[in-house]
Symmetry: C2
Subunit: 140 residues, 2 copies
């Protein structure tokens, strides 16, 4: 055992080989990160999940497993599926809000158009009455 | 071994006790459901996660574990964290869209107000000119 062991090998009390699958993603200075995934998936399953993807993808696998494990420990019943439910509810709320505001804008635009038409009609009426005014006034 | 064994006990080739923790949530007619959680978490960890909550919460635990396992098998790098990322992006898009539409509605309302004030001003001017018309006409 030496100080260079990763968090996984430290917790599993075993020597940490130079090609240890956990070493790059579970550093010894963050023991909680491995502890969480170990509690939920077990070390062997985490190792398998890291092995089955390409090397450049492993950091993302470790991050996403840690996030899911963290959520499951904080919320033992729903885990991160609870977050997905909340986000879906937020999307529904925003979509309803958007439909409401779009309906409002259509209404305001419709009212503006009607008011514009009315104002135009009033102007035509006014200009036609001022055109006829000289011919109907008694001084002609 | 008998036909009443749950999917977990069938796959693990063991007898299924009447108080089996998996029996109510992993029925024998849906072997894939247990197979998925077994691949990702391992049977022992699934059992522990079911044991640590109250009985009425276990169906939700089994459902959410199955969903997370399904996502991990379909998307080995991001699992259901990929879905959370997509949902966050969708919320950002909807929030931007809402801000844009709300700005548009403010603009339309502002224009309507200005047009209304202009129309009112025009009416005042027109009515005042018709009021003054008799006093400025040459026949007085």
């Amino acid at each position: 055992m030496n100080s260079r062991r990763c968090a996984a090998c430290k917790q599993l009390r075993r020597r940490c080989p130079s090609d240890c699958i956990f070493l790059p993603y579970f550093p010894p200075n963050n023991p909680q990160r491995f502890s969480f995934v170990h509690r939920i998936y077990g070390a062997s399953n985490v190792g398998k999940l890291l092995q089955q993807v390409q090397e450049h993808q492993r950091a993302d696998v470790a991050d996403s497993l840690y996030y899911e494990a963290y959520c499951r420990i904080k919320s033992p019943v729903y885990g991160c599926v609870g977050i997905i439910t909340i986000l879906h509810q937020e999307i529904d709320r925003l979509e309803r809000e958007l439909v409401k505001v779009q309906a409002e804008i259509s209404l305001v635009k419709g009212q503006t158009q009607i008011e514009g038409q009315l104002a135009q009609g009033q102007q035509v009426q006014l200009s036609s009455s001022s055109f006829h005014l000289p011919t109907t006034t008694p001084w002609f």
